[in-house]
């Protein structure tokens, strides 16, 4: 996902939310259009309001946009070039005015601007561009559509839809009505189509000459690197070029920043095309440290440390990295030593120092102190001085902390600091809270809200979700991304696979794609080259480039310097300096500079294309409701969440599921309390239908009912609060389900009827609005505990866990559904219906699509019945062998016949083996409703390595005509604390998956004991 997507949706949001802004914007938008084609105006006005009142604003706009492209295209055929040109002047001017007026709202203006800029193109180019615009417009429309919370219809209708779209291009008039009628139904179609269109377009473009874009990167020493990049180059291409230029091998700590419209800087995603991320021309970046190495001495090369020093000098001089007076002086003195060498009273006159900036407000006293300290560093080589510098700088409390302004749930200004260890919360300069990565279960954002879900504190019973309000949606997303990246970089051994782009995806697919710190360290050990020579240059002094050409000093913040500033940085830079005019704005304004305008258009279009790749499903009314909430509502939600939390904490510590738990356990309650069944069914059905049928408001109500009913079932003391909290929770959970799937954590595939349904409904949340990331600590120490707490938070406190801990995570897909069948007639009905209605599609759709088709297949096999694959039956069962009895109930989720057996109390410490057996039978039988499979074959293989013993047990059974192969691996990892058990487990799971790619992991059982860990995995 790219930032652009976010902005688009944001645009609409803003339009809705900020009435004034939207109003202001509209004239601008419409004016050009009316100029462009007067005849189109009446039609625009005619265009009826969108179906729902809430969306009325965005809907007309979208239609208008859709119309525009075709208009412009049609027009372009007839209007003479000069006319077009003239128009472009006007439009561009308008844009400039707008920007000045409201720099912060620049995003809103984007579409207009883009469109305008495309106009100046002539001849065939013009045609191509208009098509691009059209394309883009279409995508915008789609985005808008999303804002209208219409449910999505089945994909089958799409072809027809597509056609109509194509037609639309040719005949503007006829289609308009069509569109309005069938808009809701079409929505999904459009999405699907988009991809194809894209392909066409790309092909079309290839026919044209390859375009390049001038690109400038301000380096850490203040010099500038220029090159021309192919228009469709990814961020990685540029980054590699820069690193090559810098002769930097340990480059994973670095990144490229670009300025967003709102003066905020964002990291360029290397895996994506630049043009999709950077909207403004020219492409201007700064090369910066992205991940500050916690221990710079572990860097392999001096040159890497040098660049880190340069970054830190900037950070310190700008005040981003606060230092005491003494530290300013000390670090400054190391800088002098590194840059100038030993203090030389003859060479270094008293003012030699003033050309350096050591602190935001540098005093004479400080300079004197710096000189005094400089004298004491005699004999330190530049590299040594850098090392000393870093040794001191790394201990600064704000070293490597990326600060983001936010407000807490009470509206108090705070700052969120993302760092290697986790998330820090500051009020003023004070740290008021801290969430280490292992403590964070989930990170998500929704609109301008940012949420973290944290595991319970030592004496607390329940997880809590903490919400923060960011200044805007982009900020929330930026923060979320930074969190995802930092967590991955510092805590994981290898990055997670980004979620595959499957049919239906919700939330952001963003994942950190670079190397993790562990990987980059590993890679660094392979560096085998003589220490490269590099020239140190003070960032604030005029210096010489490597090839001796004079280089202007660049102000870091102002990139539009005079042409003389364009750097001729070094030899071997392809196409350097092509972009001679540093003032990008002026160029854009000038109508004769076609290429640039074109680039803009292009970039825009492509950024929209990204949206096309992220397919949204929007058919949840729950989500709709949530999305439509005013800020106040959201804050209220947050407040009620914290109220809920408080409530929990104050209430008796009687084991009690939290909001999420409740949902998951619901089927259980259904089962045990038959009287509720029909309620349950009633609730479920509509929700199911939602997946298929354009959602009606009623559905939403039902869904809410479901929640309301559920709350009492679980007997929380706070059921009253549930409703208030619900919707936000819902969203998070839902997304969570998907993420889990993406992550591939089998045990995490925890879904349960209602939860699932709501998930499918919330899946419509536009991807931009909801981002979700689950820092799952595969490698880190928290993993197991995390699971445990998540699912049976009531059981015990961490202290106890430490001593001895047995966790069983079972994914009981078949059981739950069978439970329904067995115990409740109505539920069976529900299954049937869902089967009919959903079929395979519902499986994928409402479900975590990319979640695991494999797994689903597997389940089919296991159950021998289609309905069981139904989404709503993937409860996670966790069994803890420790005394607390609560477990029993959760286990009950499994098959009714098995229940009695299982629920017989687990004796405190049970052998993992035993437990495994206990769980196996329900899982096998569950789907068939008591039809025990026939054992065909069984074999056991044992292998040993230094610290692990692997026992593989393969059984083949036939049941209900379906054969099932079950591979059970028991891996015993023994060793002292030196062994990273989590890593070993992760490795084992990975290996198992590789060995049996066609199978899926359905259960992972981990048994840990103090000093000894025994981990078992079952496939």
């Amino acid at each position: 996902m790219t930032t652009e997507v976010g902005s688009e949706s944001e645009v609409n949001k803003q339009a809705e939310q900020i009435g004034a802004d939207a109003a202001q914007e509209k004239p601008d938008e419409e004016a050009p259009e009316s100029q462009q084609n007067a005849s189109s105006e009446p039609e625009e006005e005619k265009s009826p309001a969108s179906p729902t009142a809430a969306v009325s604003k965005s809907s007309p706009r979208s239609q208008k946009k859709e119309k525009d492209p075709s208009e412009s295209r049609g027009i372009s055929r007839f209007i003479p070039p000069w006319l077009k040109k003239q128009k472009s002047y006007n439009l561009v001017e308008a844009k400039d005015g707008v920007e000045r007026k409201e720099p912060t709202e620049a995003v809103v203006e984007e579409p207009v601007v883009e469109k305008d800029e495309s106009l100046p193109e002539e001849g065939s180019v013009a045609r191509g561009d208009t098509e691009e615009i059209l394309e883009r417009k279409r995508q915008e429309v789609r985005v808008d559509d999303k804002d209208e919370k219409h449910s999505v219809s089945s994909a089958e209708t799409q072809p027809a839809k597509e056609d109509s779209k194509e037609i639309e291009v040719a005949k503007v008039e006829g289609i308009r009505e069509d569109k309005q009628e069938g808009e809701a139904a079409k929505r999904e179609t459009k999405e699907v189509q988009t991809t194809e269109l894209k392909v066409e377009k790309v092909a079309q473009k290839a026919a044209k000459k390859i375009k390049t874009v001038p690109c400038k990167v301000t380096l850490l020493d203040g010099m500038e690197y220029s090159c021309d990049l192919e228009k469709r180059a990814t961020g990685q291409v540029l980054f590699d070029k820069v690193c090559e230029q810098l002769n930097l091998l340990e480059k994973d700590y670095f990144g490229l920043l670009f300025q967003e419209n709102n003066d905020q800087k964002s990291w360029l995603d290397p895996s994506k095309e630049i043009k999709k991320q950077v909207r403004n021309l020219p492409w201007i970046f700064t090369f910066n440290v992205k991940f500050y190495p916690p221990d710079p001495s572990q860097l392999t090369e001096d040159i890497t440390r040098y660049f880190l020093c340069l970054q830190l000098r900037q950070d310190i001089a700008s005040g981003r990295l606060p230092c005491s007076f003494v530290t300013h002086a000390l670090l400054g003195s190391y800088t002098l030593q590194a840059e100038l060498g030993d203090y030389d009273p003859e060479e270094h006159s008293s003012d030699y120092i003033s050309e350096f900036q050591f602190a935001p407000n540098q005093t004479k006293e400080m300079e004197e102190k710096v000189i005094e300290l400089h004298k004491t560093h005699r004999g330190l080589s530049p590299a040594q001085a850098d090392s000393q510098f870093l040794e001191n700088a790394k201990r600064l409390s704000m070293y490597g902390v990326d600060l983001h302004h936010a407000k807490d749930s009470e509206g108090v200004d705070i700052k969120l600091g993302v760092c290697a260890n986790g998330l820090l919360i500051y009020k003023d300069r004070l740290r008021i809270n801290r969430f280490a990565w292992p403590k964070i279960l989930k990170i998500s954002y929704k609109r301008s809200n940012f949420y973290i879900k944290v595991r319970p504190a030592e004496l607390e019973q329940f997880e809590s979700t903490i919400g923060f309000k960011l200044p805007n949606h982009r900020a929330a997303k930026r923060l979320w991304k930074v969190c995802v990246e930092h967590h991955t970089f510092y805590r994981l051994v290898s990055p997670e696979q980004p979620p595959k782009a499957k049919f239906l995806t919700l939330g952001s697919k963003f994942r950190y794609s670079g190397r993790t710190q562990a990987q980059t360290r590993q890679a660094s050990t392979l560096i085998d080259r003589p220490a490269p020579y590099f020239e140190r240059t003070s960032s604030k002094r005029v210096s010489r480039s490597l090839d001796g050409a004079p280089i202007g000093v660049m102000d870091q913040k102002d990139f539009s310097g005079p042409a003389g500033d364009v750097s001729v940085y070094g030899p071997g830079v392809a196409g350097q300096g092509v972009f001679q005019d540093g003032d990008g704005k002026r160029e854009v304004r000038s109508p004769t500079k076609t290429p640039q305008l074109q680039f803009t258009t292009e970039g825009k279009k492509n950024s929209l294309r990204v949206e096309g790749e992220n397919i949204y499903v929007r058919h949840s009314n729950l989500m709709l409701e949530d999305l439509d909430k005013t800020q106040d509502d959201i804050l209220k939600h947050q407040a009620s969440i914290s109220e809920l939390k408080r409530h929990f904490m104050e209430s008796t510590p009687e084991p009690r599921p939290n909001e999420w738990e409740k949902r998951r356990i619901t089927p259980l309650s259904q089962q045990t309390q038959g009287r509720k069944d029909h309620l349950f069914k009633m609730d479920i059905l509509p929700v199911k239908e939602k997946q298929q049928i354009p959602a009606a408001p009623i559905v939403e109500e039902k869904a809410q009912e479901t929640d309301k009913k559920r709350a009492p079932t679980s007997e929380g003391p706070c059921s009253g609060a549930n409703d208030a909290v619900k919707s936000s929770h819902e969203t998070l959970n839902v997304v969570e389900v998907k993420k889990q799937a993406e992550v591939g954590k089998e045990e995490r595939v925890i879904t349960e009827g209602v939860n699932e349904n709501s998930s499918s409904s919330s899946s419509e949340s536009e991807e931009e609005d909801v981002g979700e990331y689950r820092p799952h600590h595969r490698v880190t120490e928290g993993t197991i505990r995390e699971e445990q707490e998540e699912n049976e938070e009531d059981v015990e406190e961490e202290k106890e866990e430490r001593a001895s801990k047995v966790v069983q995570c079972v994914e009981a897909v078949p059981e739950a559904s069978s439970v329904k069948q067995i115990t409740v007639e109505t539920v069976v009905q529900e299954n049937v219906i869902s089967q009919k209605v959903t079929g395979e599609k519902s499986l994928k759709e409402g479900y975590e699509q990319d979640m695991r088709e494999e797994t689903e297949e597997e389940h089919h096999k296991v159950n021998g019945e289609v309905p069981h694959v139904d989404i709503d039956v993937l409860p996670e069962i966790i069994c803890c062998s420790e005394p607390p009895v609560v477990k029993t109930e959760m286990v009950t989720i499994s098959d009714a016949s098995q229940r009695t057996e299982i629920s017989t109390k687990e004796v405190p410490i049970v052998q993992t083996e035993t437990k495994t057996i206990t769980y196996e039978s329900p899982q096998i039988d569950g789907g068939a409703g008591g039809d025990a499979g026939t054992l065909l074959t069984a074999q056991t293989i044992t292998s040993e390595s230094v610290s692990t013993t692997t026992t593989t047990h393969i059984t083949k059974t036939v049941k209900g005509g379906v054969s099932e192969t079950r591979i059970e691996k028991r891996i015993v990892i023994t060793g002292d604390a030196d062994i990273d058990h989590d890593q070993a487990l992760a490795q084992a799971i990975k290996e198992a998956k590789e060995q049996h790619p066609d199978m899926s992991v359905t259960r992972v059982v981990v048994h840990k004991e103090t000093g000894v860990a025994e981990e078992e995995e079952e496939e």
Binding site: P322, C323, S324, F325, V326, T327, L330, N392, R395, L396, S397, N421, K427, D428, R429, L430, R431, I432, N433, R434, A457, E458, L459
Partner: protein, 286 residues
Amino acid sequence: MGTPGEGLGRCSHALIRGVPESLGKEREGVAVGIPPLDLAKAQREHGVLGGKLRQRLGLQLLELPPEEQLPLGPLLGDTAVVHGDTALITRPWSPARRPEVDGVRRALQDLGLRIVEIKDENATLDGTDVLFTGREFFVGLSKWTNHRGAEIVADTFRDFAVSTVPVSGPSHLRGLCGMGGPRTVVAGSSEAAQKAVRAMAALTDHPYASLTLPDDAAADCLFLRPGLPGASPFLLHRGGGDLPNSQEVLQKLPDVTLVPVSCSELEKAGAGLSSLCLVLSTRPHS
């Protein structure tokens, strides 16, 4: 800045202030509510403390003269937060105690420290609500210290993380916990103390060992490393006469020489070891 944690307890000087006779008299003004104490005993305790600081620990001892109008003057730990070459002169919560800072400021200035003043009238800060662990600061938000006061601590010692710790009950943060070593937090066993320790554990980036003592007051100890770098450290703590139950646990602290002192009489006036003396190093970067 030195090696993290190694800076803890580096000291060359200790500053104390004599016990005025007013402390033993009828309570009035600020000292209202404090039970009458045995002035002679209090002065004796104070004298012994000074002696230990000078002779046992080898610190240069500066003793400010008592001032009768400042009965709580001996508790000068509340009047300044000293780290490295910087002394933050506090703004005690009790207005009656604010004049106490003047003498301390002068003394610290004479020792060559950089003096930072609190100018914000909304800030209150008692020095004994500040715990420096060698790596970071914790500021107890107690009855005496407010957020603004804590913020000024953060502003003064910018190299370090400064975290706030809610302190419940009638204690200062230092009355509940202290440092038993560069990586060891000692804390009392009261609910308030344990809560504070948990809060600190959640806020810190650094792992500390934690040692729980039966008495909260025993946790108010001073880890001191006088003399040259590498010299063996001392732990100045309340002795067996004061707090017999905690002595055994204190023995568990590794690598420190225990130096017991008594201040049970002064304790009645709210004093603890951290408030009775200010230790500092005039060569913080050596």
